[in-house]
């Protein structure tokens, strides 16, 4: 499935992901600039992304862990998510997102 990513400079990328991958893994393994310091266990906030509005409702809501970790992020919006907490499913094919400020 395809994931559309806009980086902090406004460059656009089309990434290929598989069902079951996390969003962070797809972004990281395509060598885009995402730190993901803790490796995906929701223990830092360095895989922060903004999900495009129309895709938000397709995602399950943030859990307590993710909400707490977002306290350490800068410029948190309603569309903010930690990408390590989003597992890809077939209905997310075409998902659009933006990388947040580090």
């Amino acid at each position: 499935m395809k994931i559309f990513v806009t980086d902090r400079e406004g460059n656009k990328y089309t990434l290929e992901g598989d069902s079951g991958d996390t969003l962070m893994e797809v972004i990281r393994d395509n060598s885009l600039d995402i730190e993901a310091a803790c490796g995906g266990c929701c223990a830092c906030a360095t895989c922060h992304v903004y999900i495009e509005d129309e895709w938000l409702e397709k995602l399950s809501a943030r859990d307590d862990d993710e909400e707490s970790m977002l306290d350490q992020a800068f410029d948190v919006k309603n569309t903010s998510r930690l990408s390590c907490q989003i597992s890809l499913t077939d209905d997310l094919d075409g998902l659009k997102l933006e990388l947040a400020t580090e």
């Binding site: 310091a37 803790c38 490796g39 266990c41 223990a43 830092c44 906030a45 360095t46 909400e67 707490s68 977002l70 306290d71 350490q72 992020a73 800068f74 410029d75 948190v76 400020t101 580090e102």
Partner: protein, 338 residues
């Protein structure tokens, strides 16, 4: 006088702790330096309560349990820990020993250096705004070192964790404190949260919801902090801004030591895990080589092989006889097992 040891380990994460053990079996003594105030590295700081499932023989173990067990395993070798400080500088002495200096002016001399620094040192996460570097560490403080400078001043504290709440409660005694957090829920200890809420109710502090948007240095010596909550913008004019956004990791001074690096990782060989500078080793997540996997168990293996080469530097005239802990009386004596 400098303190003296055989090996200095930089980083007290799981791999650094296991290196104490592997070196200890070969009669090599260690000092360990870490920027955190406790051993364990990421395991203790980032995920103390989270389970790890791929430590051989441990079906599951939390980050903190692993740390505790590694500390216990290393204990017979009497390692010396230097915590809450970062290695700033290394240099070679005439005796061919290394001299390692920390930001607390501690000087330690050793034959080898083992870098087991994971993803780097934990440092405060800073505000990612371009125009504030002039006032950082002056009017924007990421840690409190000298409380008295806040006497009767206007402070803006930002965050919802223990640091933010503890300092709000403490500094409210001597300063005019406003606390900003992005939501009504706090991650801090419940006791600190209720103390803060009581202070707010008694009008001893102000609390408002929001996030920092901009910071500006004013002519009158104060700083203007623009805070946004949903669509409401509020400006705060204060003497000090104290943001507490947790910790992040960065390579720090290690990148200036002249080691061969590959994208912030230290290149090593896979026989001895030695860097491009002889007698400096790198093990665990901080190193790279063809096929590297960033797993704790890889770091354990690297520690064992590194120790073999360290022995040659520490005891150039001695023969290293390979022994098993199961059969060697000598090793068991060292481990206090017999």
């Amino acid at each position: 006088m400098n303190e003296k040891t055989d090996v200095i380990i930089i980083g007290a994460g799981p791999v650094g702790l296991f290196a104490i053990f592997e070196l200890g079996l070969l009669n090599i003594s260690c000092h360990v330096i870490d920027n955190l105030d406790k051993p364990g590295g990421q395991c203790a700081e980032l995920y103390p309560e989270k389970p790890i499932y791929d430590i051989p023989s441990r079906v599951n173990i939390t980050g903190q349990e692993l740390t505790n067990d590694l500390l216990a395993q290393a204990k017979p070798f009497k390692p010396v820990y230097h915590l809450s400080q970062q290695v700033e500088k290394i240099s070679k002495l005439e005796s061919d020993d290394w001299l390692v200096e920390t930001n607390f002016n501690k000087k330690i001399q050793a034959k080898c250096i083992v870098i087991a620094a994971g993803a780097g040192s934990f440092v405060a996460r800073k505000i990612p705004l371009d125009n504030i570097s002039d006032i950082e560490d002056k009017k924007i403080l990421y840690a409190v070192r000298n409380k008295s400078q806040f006497q009767d001043k206007d402070l803006l504290i930002v965050g919802g964790g223990d640091s933010a709440l503890d300092w709000t409660n403490e500094l409210s005694k001597i300063s005019n404190v406003t606390l900003i957090h992005r939501r009504k829920e706090f991650k801090a200890a419940p006791d600190s949260v209720s103390k803060m809420l009581k202070l707010e109710k008694d009008k001893k502090i102000n609390f408002s919801l929001g996030q920092i948007k901009e910071v500006e240095n004013l002519q009158n010596g104060k700083i203007k902090v623009v805070v946004k909550n949903e669509d409401i913008i509020k400006e705060h004019e204060v003497d000090f801004l104290l943001p507490f956004f947790g910790l992040k990791m960065e390579l720090g001074p290690i990148s200036t030591w002249g080691l061969n690096l590959d994208e912030n990782l230290i290149k090593v060989d896979t026989e001895k895990f030695e860097t491009s500078i002889p007698s400096i080793f790198a093990i665990g997540d901080i190193n790279t080589y063809p096929g590297k996997l960033k797993l704790i168990l890889s770091g354990f293996h690297e520690a064992a092989l590194m120790a073999q080469k360290c022995f040659k530097y520490c005891y150039p005239d001695k023969k290293n006889i390979f022994r098993y802990t199961t059969s060697s009386k000598d090793l068991q004596k060292k481990l206090k097992a017999i």
